[in-house]
Amino acid sequence: MDLQILLLLGQDGITNGAIYALLALALVLVFTVTRVIFIPQGEFVAYGALTLASLQTDKVPGTVWLLLGLGIIVALLDGAKLLRERRYAKLPPLLIANIGVPLIAAAGLFAMPPAQLPLALQVLIAMLLVVPLGPMIYRVAFQPLAGASVLVLLIVSVAVHVALIGLGLLFFGAEGSRTPAFTELSFELAGAPLQGQTILVVVASALLIIGLYFFFERTLYGKALRATAMNRTGARLMGIPPALAGKLCFTLAAAIGAFSGILIAPITTIYYDSGFLIGLKGFVGAIIGGLASYPLAALGAILVGLLESYASFYASAFKEVIVFTLIIPVLLWRSLSARHVEEEEE
């Protein structure tokens, strides 16, 4: 193997690792705040990419209907509660946010062919269609189970994943899609070609990670989330409602997922069920970070990307065998080094 191949493989591994890292961060965030191991994280990747692809081929993406459907369910659930408590003033904003906005979105898509719009606007529309699904899913599926055990939350998470995969197949069909590259630039690095889009993925991921850092360190909402992650009861006592924290982190996770999907759609083909494996590898990164440490999770994710890249060169048929077998000793090492006198969890 020569240096050029080594470099190319490294570059490939880091590109994928960057996406895994983003997902790993989202998974760590969701887990620390809500104790949900968010298996459907990957579906947001697929939904983001495929919604954008639908817009570009002038199809109305099925995600609009999902948004509307979930919006109605959320409005019914929360509306009933408001009516019972006679807080009528809160009803209009609830209805507008959950039913009005999706309706306007749907109408807008029918009125105006989105394929003519500039790329940036298409990306924005795709994000607006997919990201609200995050908090809505939290409201409908997870909020009623806030106190349940991690295992039950995990199984619900799997059930949501199954439903979303089914919907994805219904909306986007079994065949995959690609979107045009954001940039056609191409560079040369030590004699190896380097696509502009690849650099974009890595840079955008890095920027997003830095952005998240500032969000958690500097903003009120970010601090509230961190407080909830550290101590749920304490945060509640300090006036941070757990449902708000849950919705907020699901919004962030959905945004990160959809954005990741939009980032990689030009360099690979995305299918309705692509999300699971991508999410799983992000999950491996998150676990290497102990579901707690953001930098370690990001590093772990990049490690997975690199392992995968080199394994696919040496023995592609056994790629998954190699990657997941090598993960086991890493997990063992991480688990043993994280060992302390346990506080039981029940």
Binding site: I37, A141, P144, L145, A148, S149, L151, V152, L154, I155, V156, V158, A159, V160, H161, V162, A163, L164, I165, G166, L167, L169, L170, L280, F283, V284, I287, L291, A317, F318, K319, E320, V321, F324, T325, I327, I328, P329, L331, L332, R334, S335, L336, A338, R339, V341, E342, E343, E344, E345, E346
Partner: protein, 585 residues
């Protein structure tokens, strides 16, 4: 553990094939296959608290072993069953040896990792037929009777299901079963009661893997075709799904979950096209939503919901009398039991205990007092082996124990309670206390599963009942431990500790949360134990309680011993007053 009238059910199952249509039998066959794996998961995940996504891989090992050996080498399926079990045991032992050391979420991911690895290994090994699979697996023959049709095979499958359920129910209702159930509350308590927790985890893991392997063997001979997809991660997740939806804490929940999910899928397949037309594929969507709704309504699974609907069954509320268990010889009066010499414990840079020394003799109550954060519980953990000391020497009845795991220390006659109560809330007080008697029994998994352990079991339970009466909780013997007031739960912990027949008792704040009367009773009990020759080391904040009971007192502050002596002299010590009152001005 709930016991349905097994014989009645067995009879019902036996006549079912004569009455039911062919396809119902087919479904029952698959339900049975899934249930066998799910029962294993109940033991592994529901009881021992170890979440595994990898069971499908063990099903695959069982299926592939028999498929390969019967088609390529012409071996008898009965022989390959044994080979498959042996192979599964070896692989499970190896995987368990590595992954079961992982705590928290490392374990589920570890199981995902080897689940995926094994799946792709099946698919890429040419002699196993690759991704395309092995066809032509022969049917099983029993005394010349070829189990070719689904109806014939039905009996074999459900025989295995019932045997598995009976064996696991028996196992859970035994000494080993209690030690497995103790794992869910964390390993610290189980270890302190003398349970070898790595061993217990491996046992649960092996049993679950072997059940999965048997299911795989049955699958291969029912399907007569084997390829990798049924053993993929998605199927591994589905097994867990079945167990959780059915009720992961209940053996019958596994059968219910397997049945429910299999039937639900069939109903959806039959009815959805009629409702929504044949153009789309709505089955997955509706299935996912249905599962979310079920778990929102019944988060512990459906079996507990069904149990609630049934009239309360008449449970046996009596503990059979049995011979008193042999007791260990008492240490000579006033001989030194525990000798702590210059023990230090550091957490990173923080020194929690600094060169601490103390002694406890037989027939003595020694109290350890000090403000919060003085390092009392840390010292308890060092002595009992929960978190070994960084430096120094600890002797117990003359033996160095500072490097021993807590189960070995427990075996030598030291028992303890915990500051934060570590009981299993769902289990009865009797069963909780019986965990304390773990080291006084010897019967293992096989005798328990076959009910050959009953004589010993009677002895252990009788002993537990005796200790419960002794601490005055006789009326709560069959209540769930979690339903008791916190103060009473502490007393249950004392009964559990006493059940191990200790010569030294470590009590961490035993009187906290007790009412005045209860404290008096406790003091009286401890006094009696002292008179019997037991050594007692206790941490307590209630000064009246301590000063009235203790023979000697050690006072700690900031990890160091600041005073030691009889209660009267310690109470007058200026350093003690300063520590407690912030100085005498």
């Amino acid at each position: 553990m709930c016991r349905l009238p097994l014989p009645a059910l067995a009879a019902l199952l036996a006549v079912a094939p004569l009455l039911l249509p062919e396809f119902t039998i087919t479904l029952l066959n698959y339900i049975g296959l899934y249930a066998i794996v799910a029962v294993g998961l109940v033991l592994l995940t529901g009881v021992a608290g170890l979440t595994s996504f990898g069971q499908a891989a063990f099903v695959g090992i069982g299926a592939y072993t028999t498929a390969w050996l019967t088609t390529t080498w012409g071996w008898s399926p009965w022989l390959t069953l044994l080979v498959g079990l042996a192979l599964t045991a070896m692989i499970a032992f190896f995987l368990g040896f590595i992954t079961l050391r992982m705590g928290g979420h490392y374990l589920p991911l570890g199981t995902i990792a080897w689940g995926i690895s094994l799946y792709f290994l099946f698919g890429n090994l040419e002699f196993l037929g690759g991704h395309t699979g092995i066809s032509g697996v022969p049917p099983v023959t029993l005394f010349g009777w070829e189990l070719k049709s689904g109806r014939d095979f039905y009996y074999l499958i459900w025989l295995v299901v019932l045997l598995a359920i009976a064996a696991i129910s028996n196992l859970l209702d035994s000494r080993v079963g209690r030690s497995l159930r103790a794992l869910k509350g964390g390993t610290v308590m189980a270890e302190a009661m003398g349970v070898n927790t790595p061993h217990a985890k491996i046992v649960a893991f092996l049993i679950a893997a072997l059940l999965a392997s048997v299911s795989g063997w049955l699958y291969a001979h029912l399907q007569r075709f084997v390829n990798p997809t049924p053993f993929a991660l998605t199927q591994g997740i589905e097994y867990l799904f079945m167990a959780v939806v059915g009720g992961i804490g209940h053996v019958w929940g596994a059968v219910l979950g397997a049945g429910l999910i299999t039937l639900l899928k069939q109903w959806l397949q039959d009815w959805l096209p009629q409702l929504l037309g044949q153009s789309g594929n709505f089955e997955m969507i509706v299935f996912g939503i249905a599962m979310v709704l079920i778990l929102q309504r019944a988060r512990d699974g459906l079996w507990p919901v069904i149990l609630k609907q049934l009239p309360a069954r008449h449970e046996k509320r009596q503990v059979a009398t049995a011979e008193i268990l042999p007791k260990r010889p008492l240490a000579a009066a006033n001989s030194v039991l525990l000798e702590v010499h210059e023990v230090s414990k550091n957490f990173g840079g923080l020194v929690a205990n600094n060169r601490l020394s103390l002694r406890v003799a037989a027939g003595e109550v020694m109290a350890l007092i000090g403000p919060n954060g003085a390092g009392k519980s840390t010292l308890f953990n060092c002595i009992s082996g929960v978190a070994p000391a960084t430096d120094g020497e600890i002797r117990f009845i003359g033996e160095r124990i500072e490097r021993m795991p807590s189960r070995d220390i427990a075996r030598r006659g030291m028992s303890r309670t915990f500051q934060h109560v570590r009981l299993l809330g769902q289990m009865s007080v009797l069963e909780n206390v019986a965990i304390g008697a773990h080291l006084r029994g010897t019967q293992g998994v096989l005798p328990a599963a076959l009910r050959l352990d009953r004589a010993e079991e009677r002895g252990l339970l009788a002993e537990a009942a005796r200790q419960i009466e002794r601490v005055g909780l006789g009326e709560h013997m069959f209540d769930a431990a979690g339903s008791l007031a916190l103060g009473k739960q502490r007393i249950v912990e004392i009964a559990r500790a006493l059940c191990s027949d200790p010569c030294l008792l470590l009590l961490d704040e035993p009187a906290a949360g007790l009412r005045y009367r209860e404290k008096q009773d406790l003091a009286e009990l401890l006094g009696k134990l002292r008179n019997e020759g037991m050594g007692i080391l206790l941490v307590e904040h209630d000064m009246d309680f301590v000063m009235g009971l203790a023979d000697r007192v050690v006072v700690m502050e900031f990890g160091e011993k600041i005073a030691e002596g009889v209660p009267e002299s310690v109470q007058r010590d200026p350093r003690v007053l300063e520590a407690y009152l912030g100085g005498v001005d």
